[in-house]
Amino acid sequence: MQIYVFDGSLEGLLCAVFEWFERKPGQIQLVTKNDFQPDAFTAHLDILPEAGKADRVWKGLQSRLPKGWMRRFYCTYLSESPEAYTALFEFTCYIFSAEPGAENNYGNPHVLAVSKTAIKVEREKHRMEAFIRFQHTADGIFYCGIDPDFNVLPLIMSHFKNRYADQQWIIYDINRKYGLYYNLEKVEEIKMDFNEPNMLRPSSGSLSDKEELYTVLWKDYFKSANIVARKNTKLHVQHVPKRYWKYLTEKQQ
């Protein structure tokens, strides 16, 4: 089986589809440059991303898929996993080969895989929209650091931009090392250097005077809203998985 090696970009992925239709080599294996380990026995093809080719594939998909599926496609791509890349590749080939409407064939494993991965990414996006807690810094910026499972910053941008239109904010993905900065006009992608030990939640030294009060009030509120007679820790943890607690003001000691 031939191996297609691409650079991990969306463009590269779409070009892999383009090349496959040019050559029709049958079953191939798609890997990213980073995961690729050449051996002497398997032939491989280096996919060079080219905007023109990628664009044709993207347009082709757009003409076949309803908007919701284009979104699913993009979300699945942002999951950044090798299985997702393969699923997208196979899915795209299937969509181009099958009758219109084939995206509704949930009996097809690639259709199902894309749909399921997209749901996971959307869930992570939704969790970030829910669990991000801004802290008001001494510079007057509302800041929050995150390290989401998937690369969701592009997905959450417009939500935060629409919502927090009258305050400056930064959401920083500390693992992927980039963030979004809204300067009251538009959102910019930024890279930052930190002198803070905790990039998720900066320490009180760099925060505004009122920050501590609202932190305390929010923690108080969280406690008051609880009904002890209904305690249900299992359900609580199911809704707020422990790995997100580090974001949550109300969960800090």
Partner: protein, 418 residues
Amino acid sequence: MSERIREKLNILADAAKYDVSCSSSGGTRKNDNKGLGDSHASGICHTYTEDGRCVSLLKILLTNHCIFDCAYCVSRKSNDIERAAFTVEEVVELTMNFYRRNYIEGLFLSSGIFKNADFTMERLLRVVKKLRLEERFNGYIHLKTIPGASDELIREAGMYADRMSINLEMPTESGLKLLAPDKSHQDVIKPLGFVQNQIVQFKEERKLIRSVPKFVPAGQSTQMVIGATPETDKDIMHTADAFYRNFSLKRVYYSGYIPISNDSRMPILGTQPPLIRENRLYQTDWLMRFYGFHVNELLNDANPHLDIDIDPKLSWALRNLQHFPVDINVAAYKVILRVPGIGVGSAKKIVQARKFGRLRIDQLQKIGVAYNRAKHFIKCADSPYQLKDYQSTQIKSFILAESQSKYIKHDTSQLILF
């Protein structure tokens, strides 16, 4: 200053928590004035309390002073508790600052009745007006309609609120009379009807003139307390059904009564709140709203109570085995929806996917059908041939045996839908 505000927040959040609604869905406000906030159509839960309930809104009372003495309420006049009252400014500051930090989707403001209904409603109105007009706040606002307040005040409040609600409190008039002799369902019906009329009227006018403001765009809801008085599940759900139909309510909430006093008319202190029952009522509510069930199919004179050990959809199926098995590959969507173990999402996927070929067991499982439950009620491409028809009691015991760990062992206070 910060100590006093902490104290007030503790008292007035604590008193507000028995209102279980925390939904922030259905808001349609857009941030088109470069202010703060917009509404998310499906709502967002920003955190969950340790009892597992969604926290979406800052839910507080303006004050817990009250001239009434409803036996089921912590704020009742005769209760010896600390009282407090927020100023309008304090509520606005809290809401804005919580919202800016992404703690909440908005405000749920309720109040005890101080002085009289109009006086109270007027204060609530001042809060929402300040938020909307001065602070340019576009987040979600759920406002209590104060029974007995004037139409003018209610109408004005409705132009700024996303949702309004009034609680029925007890599922029947006799239950209410028992615990709150001063109150009647009529006090609730009148303002619910008024707001509903206004919603319809504003919508009509907006069709003609775009600049007509939105009126309570997320609709109305109500709440019933469960288990304080001896109503049957049938009483409760028939009341809910009537209110859904007559007032186009968005939601009816069921709140298991948590004993708060030694009043001999109600369960004594320390009695466990009826959490499983509450869960079953929510499931029934869901079946009525999203699964096409009529309330009479689920609760009637022959079956006035919901089963505790199995969910209402399974109960219905076991009572109506004549409708099964359903052939997944040909049955109508509506019929598939009624199969235990198949939810709305899976049912939709099934009718899409079967166009591409007859569906098999493994495909159903991947689509998300709870096959071990559904298998007793369906046929698909490779269903095993069954020698004999099982009785409903046998099917029930199979399903219970299989789902033992999942549904019974842990206390079932959590909301498991089908």
